[in-house]
Amino acid sequence: MRVWKLPPDVDTDQLAPGSAMKFGLDVIARQCLQGVRPDFASGVQRGDVIVAGAGFGIGSSREQAASVLVHLGVAAVIAPGYSGLYFRNAFNVGLLLLTCPQAGRIDDGEAIAFDARAGTVTRGHSDGHGQGRGEVLPLDPIPGFLLDMVDAGGLLAQLKQRLHPKEMRP
């Protein structure tokens, strides 16, 4: 679960480039963040976390900008602030966004842990540096109904539960 550190104002054209938008998520994924972190698309592993600056997800309402990260297995995004539109899209597609005012303290490459309901991020070990390990950073509280949505896998899964409860497996 390593950290990929990104600058502020990463916009939706970076996450889901316009030229890829006519294609499916597998194509979009290959171009995801190529203008900001060219090593991301090929290097990201399931369970990795993005730590970004403020304004993550500004720009378009294209929800592919959030679902591409789900597709790539990103466990969460941690940032001091997000585009409001992106925030809604993320939870709707099951992408966990954690708001952490001190996200800037986390280093690229760290192995961190987080607890969304408890509202904490625990810093881990980064290559060659022991500094910061074990430091606990607070997260802004997330409304329970949004956490429930992510746990369910997004709004579509929840709507399925609501409309066809008998068809949902236990």
Partner: protein, 422 residues
């Protein structure tokens, strides 16, 4: 009854309450859900099938084909075919195919009125706020929730009032006002709250200019950008076939003592502005960029190619030729705007000046087509200049008003239209 802002009043009506307070989470009934060929059918059809669900009220749904038209390759043909077939199969009553960009076509066809609560599957949906309607952009899964339930939750926003006194000088426009605000407050300055544009300089604006303000409230990071409706609104809507009486407009304004943050601006002192690569917030006065050479001038998008924008460009370029080495492309925001421009002689004037007309669709604003050559320096009347946004990874894109774009095309470098108009 506590004093409320326009935003609060619109939300209160939509959620069936007499009053709401900022910070409350409420569920609102949706009067209109708009989506386009990119955000709509190709996403909704499979999800609706998976749910075994139907659209809640087809009369409240509008589909506009504006992103992948005109079709240029197999993928765009496939996407547009899915949209057309689904629209026919669903017997959708409101479908606008290749008539122009959704944020301009939807009001032109009379779908937006003061007091409505609307959502759109596009981030420039706040354009509807120019008509005193609460309208914001949502993603496709959120839209699925709306079309199956007819409802959406939101957190009642605070209102940030942008109060403009004075009057814009000739050659200075709503786009310059927006760039000044985005430059000052940044891409997240709106904090996903409600922005309301007010003051004598705003009320003096024609509808198309108000639409430009509301449109780019997206670049301020606001959820909505509102202008209280008035006689200007009523007359424009009359032309769109919507008859309103004064009492239809009366409720839709912020109370004098409504709480909110207020920022004051002087329109009389405003000079033309541009946003430098690669952010709409990277704003400077045109005067500071004198003689930055450009190769491409682009007048397009819902933001900057409505009839008023085409008139502005034609005023600057009438009787002149654009500079050698410059390409000027004009993609009118709608077929209606293009037809009106033709009747007014604007198309002739711009073509004589050296402009190439492109179809009325989103086009290069969102990176479709191949209008923007690699490595070029572009000045554009669109809303976003993020790196790669317009379809070229290496282009340097400046944003400006149609006046500024036209003056720059004339001179071959970024230029102040007031010097040309004088």
């Amino acid at each position: 009854m506590p004093a409320m802002t326009l935003a609060q009043k619109l939300i209160a009506k939509a959620c069936g309450r007499s009053a709401v307070q900022p910070g409350e989470v409420v569920t609102c009934g949706v009067d209109l859900a708009m989506f386009h060929d990119s955000s709509g059918p190709r996403r909704l059809q499979p999800m609706l099938a998976e749910l075994g669900a139907e659209i809640w009220d087809k009369r409240k749904v509008v589909l506009v084909m504006d992103h992948y038209v005109p079709e240029t390759d197999d993928e765009s043909r496939r996407i547009v075919r899915i949209a057309r077939e689904w629209a026919a199969e669903q017997a959708l009553p409101h479908v606008y195919d290749s008539l122009g960009i959704c944020h301009v076509v939807v009001p032109q066809k009379g779908h937006i009125r003061p007091g409505m609560f609307c959502v759109g599957g596009d981030s420039h949906s706040p354009t509807g706020g120019a008509f005193g309607a609460y309208m914001f952009g949502i993603g496709a899964t959120e839209m699925l929730g709306v079309v199956t339930t007819g409802e959406i939750w939101l957190k009642v926003p605070r209102t940030i009032f942008m109060r403009w006194s004075g009057r814009l000088a000739d050659g200075v426009s709503a786009k310059d006002m927006m760039l000044a605000m985005i430059g000052r407050f940044g891409l997240s300055g709106g904090d996903y709250q409600a922005v309301e544009f007010c003051g004598e300089a705003v009320t003096a604006l024609p509808m198309a200019e108000r639409m430009t303000l509301a449109n780019m409230s997206a670049e301020l990071g606001a959820q909505v950008g509102l202008v209280a409706p008035d006689e200007t609104t009523r007359q424009w809507l009359q032309g769109a076939g919507v008859s309103l009486h004064r009492q239809d407009l009366a409720p839709w304004h912020s109370d004098a003592d409504a709480p909110g943050i207020c920022h004051a601006f002087d329109a009389s002192a405003l000079a033309p502005q541009v946003a430098l690569p690669h952010s709409p917030a990277n704003v400077r006065a045109v005067a500071e960029l004198a003689h930055t050479p450009i190769q491409v001038a682009y007048i397009g998008a819902c933001t900057g190619a409505k009839l008023d924008d085409l008139r502005a460009a034609a005023r600057v370029l009438a009787g002149h030729r654009i500079a050698a080495g410059v390409q000027l492309m004009v993609a009118p925001a709608s077929v209606q705007d293009f037809d009106a421009a033709r009747q007014e002689g604007l198309v002739h004037r711009l073509t004589e000046a050296g402009a190439t007309f492109l179809p009325s669709a989103c086009g290069a604003c969102a990176g479709y087509g191949s209008a923007i050559p690699e490595g070029s320096t572009v000045i554009s009347s669109t809303a976003r200049n993020f790196k790669g946004r317009m379809g070229s990874a290496t282009a340097q894109v400046y944003l400006g008003s149609p006046f500024t774009v036209a003056a720059s095309a004339l001179r071959g470098h970024i230029a102040d239209a007031r010097e040309v108009l004088a």
